[in-house]
């Protein structure tokens, strides 16, 4: 993924999704970046002119105030429990689902933006996979109860099971596509973007979440497959039983005909 090469000032009018928090520098801008799956990211960009940006490892006093403002803005987001704020030398990165803020010297903002948008894209994909896996997981109990029943429900349940199986396979496919990014080894020598991306990945426990989502998907896949198999076996068994009864009836009829035939021949000289 590449960032928009235009300067931040030119982009500040792009699809603004909300008002800027009060107290930020005038050069601050917010724009909405589309993410995979139809989600969007409200990205707040805060240029922070630090007089000794590259010589100092500490964020100056103004930056500390900006940190507080950004933290408040993030916690107002829908899922503020997942919010992370990462001070990185003279830069600041803050993220929550659907919202992100980057602050730092203007020459660092492009690298920070690439890292944050890349991370947000991966995280959104993973979150969507987690949501879909959770929905499937809830249906497991019903599937298990159904495939134990010997009434017609198992047969009727077949299409739903097949749909769930396909959904579980689709989730697995999405997660496997994500795996290379989630499990990528740290970049060495590091770049600013790689440092930010790795810290965000670690702080949001992306690796563990990916593993859990994959395990859930695999569990649903196994259960759905087993349930489908069980439903198929029940269906085949029912057909076999019908066939067996038909054979029995035919044999009885044949026997009756034979008996009648024998009895009718008895009186014949």
């Amino acid at each position: 993924m590449t960032s928009d090469p235009r300067p931040h000032a030119e982009r500040s009018h792009d699809s603004l999704s909300g008002a800027l928090p009060a107290g930020l520098p005038t050069a601050a801008a917010m724009h909405r970046r589309p993410l995979a799956g139809g989600e969007g990211l409200d990205l707040l960009v805060v240029p922070m002119e630090s007089p000794a940006a590259s010589a100092s490892m500490t964020i100056d006093v103004d930056a500390t105030a900006v940190t507080v403002i950004l933290r408040d803005w993030l916690t107002a987001a829908a899922d503020s429990r997942s919010a992370v704020v990462i001070p990185l030398y003279d830069c600041l990165v803050a993220w929550a689902p659907g919202r992100a803020a980057i602050g730092g010297p203007p020459d660092r903002l492009a690298a920070l933006e690439i890292a944050v948008v890349e991370f947000a894209t991966r995280e959104a994909e993973l979150r969507e996979a987690e949501r879909r896996a959770a929905v499937l997981l809830e249906a497991i109990d019903g599937d298990l109860a159904t495939d134990e029943s010997d009434d017609g429900r198992a047969r009727e349940h077949g299409p739903a099971l097949a749909s769930r199986y396909r959904e579980a396979v689709a989730i697995g496919r999405r997660l496997s596509l994500l795996a290379s990014a989630v499990h990528a080894p740290p970049v060495h020598p590091p770049t600013l973007a790689s440092q930010v991306g790795e810290r965000l990945r670690d702080r949001t426990r992306l690796v563990e979440r990916h593993e859990l989502a994959r395990e859930r998907g695999e569990l649903v896949e196994r259960v759905a497959e087993a349930s489908r198999q069980r439903a198929l076996e029940l269906s085949v068994a029912r057909q076999q039983m019908g066939l067996e009864w038909a054979i029995v009836v035919l044999l009885v009829v044949q026997t009756a005909i034979l008996v009648v035939d024998l009895l009718s021949r008895r009186g014949t000289p």
Binding site: A52, S54, A55, Y89, D107, P190, Q195
Partner: protein, 480 residues
Amino acid sequence: MAAVNLPTEILPTHTMPSRPPRIAIVGGGPSGLFVAWHIEEQASLPVDITIFEATDRLGGKVCTPQFSAAAVRYEAGAAELYDYEGVGNDPLRELIRGLGLPTVPLTGSAVHMSGRRIACLDDLENAHGQEARDRLVAFDTWARAAMTPQEFFESGCDHATMACPPTRFDDPLDAIGSPVARSYVETMIHSDLATEPSATTAAYGLQNYLMTDPAYMRLYRIAGGNEQFMTTLAARIAAKVRHTATVTAICSESDGRFTVTWRSADRSNDETFDIVIVALPVAALAGITFRDEPLAAAMQRHLTHHDHPAHYLRVSLLIDEPAPVVPGEDDYIMVDAFGGACLYVESSRDPVTRHGVLGWLLGGEAASTMASLPDDAITAAAINALPAPFASCRGRVLEARVHRWIGAVSAVPGGWQSLPVATRHRPSPTHPNLFVAGDYLYDSTLNGALDSADYVAGWVASTLAPMTPASRHATTDTAA
């Protein structure tokens, strides 16, 4: 455990010693403790182990004392441990885990050069231009090609192979072609190298460079202080420990045993042992007299091969509150002062402390030169050299401690020409029951010390079974 009743005729009575074999371990540092631990773990017979330690504490350069002005701990020696589990089996990590010690990862990527912080390639390019960045990337690419993570992991083993040229480390550094990129690399690794690039091999230099890459290795520490590792290990060893007992001489006897002469409180003592394991740094090994001529000659060859002293100097500063914090979440930074030094922000190790602790690690010539200065002068230099983010700490130092580790490690672990592992650990073939163990035989790390101890313990354990007076003569005669 229930006794197993074997038929008397199949009991190996001829191999059973009449008493537990007596084993002397000279040196109560990490190597000595590791050897004792492994022998007790691996020996199939009861053993009588005595550890001779010249000081009043065990653990050597793994040392976490407290300041006097406040009950705050600091690392006076080894500040970090190396985690190889990303590449292969890591016995040190397993041992620490087995002892139930919690560990914490250590991170740091900033190099402070000429007052500027270089924390990533972007910083290097911003400060010194595209060429410096390209040269560093080229060196990094070359270094990875010269030594893969697996080769890095296996370095020091008999079967180790690598494409690294058999030159001194300053050759590949010269080839970088950019003074800034070279300075960056040197600053980054100088304190770990503990020597100058011209005084070590390209392979060892590369190891120290590549250990900054998480694909090769990660750093960690033990929560509550690294010395806990040594004290916990020592508490689980049944060996007798003779503190403040300096071994001055070792003499082989005609029956294959050894007389160890040791001094304590101005009194000289002699004790006889079946097996002697010398687990000392090379510098301390030179202080032991080997009275038997062939043994003395063999040990002199061993010393000559391995005598490449490297030096550390630790300066720890206790700062009054507030504790300094590095916004990059780094536990340490590299600084170009003192030819390249590491500054550990030890405050980050204790979240509830009301004090700050900054720990300098100096290495190589700077450490060697400054070690001769009085503590006050060393402390003043360390305070003056604090980089800009810690400038406010200069007037707030409550207490400073200096620890000198001169000759404590090897600049060329394993020697310029690598010897077989067996030769490294048993310098004299005619004295099969005298072993040496130490990190200088592998890679100057605690992992190397453990590998060395494991090797010696395995050998000792396998020799213990046939160790009777008669078999001792036989072994010696055969070897002779």
